[in-house]
């Protein structure tokens, strides 16, 4: 090209060539920017994290302590300073307390992301060998992802009697235990319950339902009064699949056997459960198909609908957004299906902390975890955060949100707990496939039989 004289540049052929080259480069550039976006994020996330760690170290040096300080990192899925979430604010207090009490000995620097990017960034850090010393994780397949390759440390040796006995029961470790070894420590528990608008129930003359038929009856009465009986989100698929999870469990579906491949998804009990969901869907708000979780929750506290089936973490949101609703809001346990399974089983979910297996400062990391489960932190969890504490701490029930007492009642009377269905399957993707199939049934795209055949096919392909 360079050897062509200036005149030649104006010749057609060259113009054509140049155009072709330019358009090709353009194509490649534009397409590649997409691909590069994927490849690059790991490095970027790593960079940001090490940046955070640096600034933490700098701040520490500034406070005048010598080189003896053991510096650790703690990774979490919300911004500690910008948040309105009460639980997150409690975590910030814990971090501040820890750094103050252990000044000169240990120092923890939080690495925070938003919830959507949390696991992406965590995985990038793990891949680059910079696993945070302590990180938050959901029990179930998410935790398994870190236990299997040995990223998360076995915490059993560190759980001395004193610490272990402070927990409300051994059962709180059920979802964090693999082969008898505990890999994560729970911080709080949320139980899935049914929240309802007492005024609407009264107006419609409906009573708190104990059984499935009573629930349908209550919905019918509320609908006759011109209200939406149930607000639910199928746009955020796990909300709908949580309902199916409850129905499956009440019907007596044995999830462990399905996961082990001993039973098929397509069986009479799961089909019955999903048919009940379809029966109930007649009483959903008309926009359930696309409403997100937040919109559906707002449906309850703004007085659009009478019933919301949701985890108890919604209490903070409900009371925060509409404080007047607190006294109108009742809670009941998911109803019984007569002839089915034990009706006192409750869906529960905990935030848990895991420790990096490669941490250089296990003592500091364990000390931090103990701060999260000490009385101050657990009291806050119940009184301000509205979640169920994991330890035997005594808290002031009058200070806690009104609904927590009902949730506590349901939780303490629970015969046993089980996880969210989509978090209790063989992988995160299996959970997502389950969610999608349940939404497909709700939307009328699949029959329950087709949906569960597809689940069986997924299980067969992803053993």
């Amino acid at each position: 090209m360079a050897q062509l004289s200036a005149k030649c540049i104006f010749q057609k052929g060259v113009i054509m060539m140049k155009k072709k080259v330019i358009s090709l480069l353009l194509t490649v550039a534009v397409t590649a920017s997409l691909l590069a976006g994927c490849g690059g994020s790991g490095a970027a996330a790593g960079g940001a994290a090490s940046g955070a760690a640096d600034s933490g170290a700098a701040a520490d040096a500034g406070s005048g302590s010598g080189g003896e300080v053991e510096e650790i990192t703690w990774m979490f899925w919300d911004d500690l300073n910008a948040t309105e979430d009460l639980i997150t604010k409690g975590y910030k207090d814990v971090i501040d307390r820890f750094n103050k009490d252990y000044e000169g000995k240990y120092h923890v620097t939080p690495i925070t992301t938003n919830l959507e990017e949390y696991y992406t960034k965590l995985n990038a850090l793990v891949a680059s060998g910079e696993t945070p010393d302590v990180f938050i994780v959901s029990p179930g397949p998410n935790l398994t992802t870190y236990v299997d390759p040995g990223v998360a440390a076995d915490l059993t040796p560190y759980l001395d009697d004193e610490w272990k006995n402070s927990f409300s029961s051994e059962a709180v470790f059920a979802q964090q235990t693999y082969d008898g070894k505990i890999y994560a420590v729970p911080l709080n528990i949320a139980a899935a319950c049914v929240f309802y608008n007492k005024e609407m129930f009264e107006e419609a003359g409906a009573s708190v339902p104990k059984t499935w038929d009573e629930l349908i009856d209550a919905c019918k009465k509320i609908k006759e009064k011109g209200h939406n009986p149930i607000t639910i989100s199928a746009g955020t698929a796990w909300c709908l699949s949580m309902l199916v999870g409850y129905l499956c469990d009440r019907e007596g579906v044995d999830l462990a056997k399905i996961n082990a491949g001993e039973e098929k998804w397509n069986n009479p009990k799961t089909i019955d459960a999903v048919n009940k969901m379809v029966e109930l869907s007649e009483y959903f708000q008309p926009t359930a198909a696309g409403d997100t979780n937040d919109v559906a929750t707002a449906g309850l506290y703004s007085g659009d609908a009478a019933i919301l089936i949701q985890g108890s973490w919604a209490i903070g949101q409900i009371n925060g957004e509409n404080p007047d609703f607190e006294e109108k809001c009742g809670v009941f346990q998911f109803p019984e299906i007569p002839g089915g399974n034990d009706p006192n089983r409750v869906i529960a979910k905990s935030d848990s902390l895991a420790m990096s297996a490669k941490t250089k400062h296990p003592e500091a990391a364990i000390a931090l975890m103990k701060y999260f489960t000490d009385d101050t932190a657990q009291k806050y969890t119940a009184e301000v955060g509205g979640k169920i504490p994991v330890t035997k701490v005594e808290y002031d029930a009058d200070k806690a949100p009104a609904q927590l007492a009902d949730v506590m009642d349901i939780f303490t009377n629970a015969s046993s707990t089980f996880g969210f269905y989509n978090e209790s399957l063989i992988s995160t993707e299996a959970g997502s496939t389950f969610d999608d199939n349940m939404v497909a049934v709700y939307l009328g795209e699949k029959t329950p039989e087709q949906a569960f055949d597809d689940m069986d096919a997924f299980y067969a392909a992803n053993k």
């Binding site: 360079a2 050897q3 004289s5 200036a6 057609k12 113009i15 054509m16 155009k19 072709k20 358009s23 090709l24 353009l26 194509t27 490649v28 550039a29 534009v30 397409t31 590649a32 920017s33 997409l34 691909l35 590069a36 994927c38 490849g39 690059g40 790991g42 990017e117 696991y119 992406t120 995985n123 990038a124 793990v126 891949a127 992802t145 390759p149 990223v151 199928a234 746009g235 698929a237 008309p286 926009t287 198909a289 696309g290 919109v295 992988s427 995160t428 993707e429 997502s432 999608d436 939404v439 497909a440 939307l443 795209e445």
Partner: protein
């Protein structure tokens, strides 16, 4: 200047920054992700070579079919509508005297705004509890569930999002066509009017043939842009309800960043790359201008 262009060292120095940038930021990641597309890779453990497994899975993936269908719909829709609307707007704006700059700015404005913000804005407009349906309800009409309907081969939300994308990017096409039209010598038009052409005839016989090369360029940009379309969809529906509005880029995102199947996501990326290259090639073929 001519002397400088003959100096190979000077050429090398001028080319080097762009060359390095392209190599390290584009070509190496592209090659890497093509390699990953043949691997099982979860970013936690090292990539494991599995041959064509990811591509075989693509063939039986239902969501992949939906996203491919939606991406192709989007491609055709935006190529056709952007061409027509862009040309009409450019033709109109070059012919009006008063307020040309004003309208040009107004129409181009959405292009420079953040897609995330616009996506949210339009999501509110089409939300059943706010926006259009509330206005319709005042007149006793019940609006459809704009972003939630699932009926039809191409669902309503796809049409809605495609419309928003047209609104957002039509300014870009319009600017390109206007630039080309204003480059056409007025003497050509004057001559045509003397010969008795109407405005419409001169547009057809003079403007259209002379802006053909720009049509090719604008359409390539459109095609690539619509194939890798992500932001509006992610902000308006996140691919839902139930993957009905998933396109290739959102599917890639879910597989890569939600399920950590980087190998599989890379395979989707490779399909996207091939599609983009193919479309550019075809469009350039179609709009090849031999006589300029």
């Amino acid at each position: 200047m001519e002397k400088l262009l003959k100096d190979k060292k000077a050429i090398a120095i001028f080319v080097l920054p762009a060359f390095l940038l392209f190599t390290f930021i584009l070509f190496i990641p592209i090659c890497q992700s093509i390699y990953y597309s043949f691997c099982d890779y979860d970013a936690l453990t090292l990539p494991k070579f599995v041959g064509l497994k990811n591509y075989k899975n693509l063939l039986i993936d239902d969501v992949m079919k939906t996203s491919l269908k939606n991406s192709v719909f989007f491609l055709i829709y935006s190529c056709v509508t952007q061409l027509i609307m862009g040309l009409i707007l450019a033709g109109l704006l070059t012919n009006i005297k008063a307020g040309r700059n004003f309208f040009k700015n107004v129409i181009y404005l959405p292009c420079v705004l953040s897609s995330a913000a616009l996506g949210l804005l339009w999501m509110f407009i089409f939300s059943p509890k706010l926006g259009i349906n509330q206005i319709l309800a005042k007149y006793g009409m019940e609006g459809p569930l704009w972003l939630m309907d699932i009926k039809g081969f191409i669902t309503l939300p796809m049409w809605v999002i495609a419309f928003v994308a047209l609104w957002q990017y039509v300014g870009q096409s319009m600017m390109l066509y206007m630039a080309q039209i204003s480059g056409i010598s007025t003497s050509l038009y004057e001559a045509s009017y003397i010969d008795g052409c109407s405005k419409l005839q001169s547009f057809r016989n003079i403007t259209l043939p002379l802006i053909k090369p720009m049509v090719g360029t604008a359409m390539s940009l459109n095609a690539i842009g619509s194939l890798k379309f992500f932001d509006l969809i992610f902000n308006m529906t996140e691919g839902g309800p139930n993957h009905k509005t998933e396109v290739l880029a959102t599917h890639l995102y879910t597989q890569g960043f939600k399920f950590f199947k980087y190998g599989y996501a890379s395979a989707i990326g490779t399909v996207l790359l091939v599609l983009c290259l193919l479309m550019t090639f075809l469009i350039n073929r179609a709009f090849r201008t031999d006589d300029m």
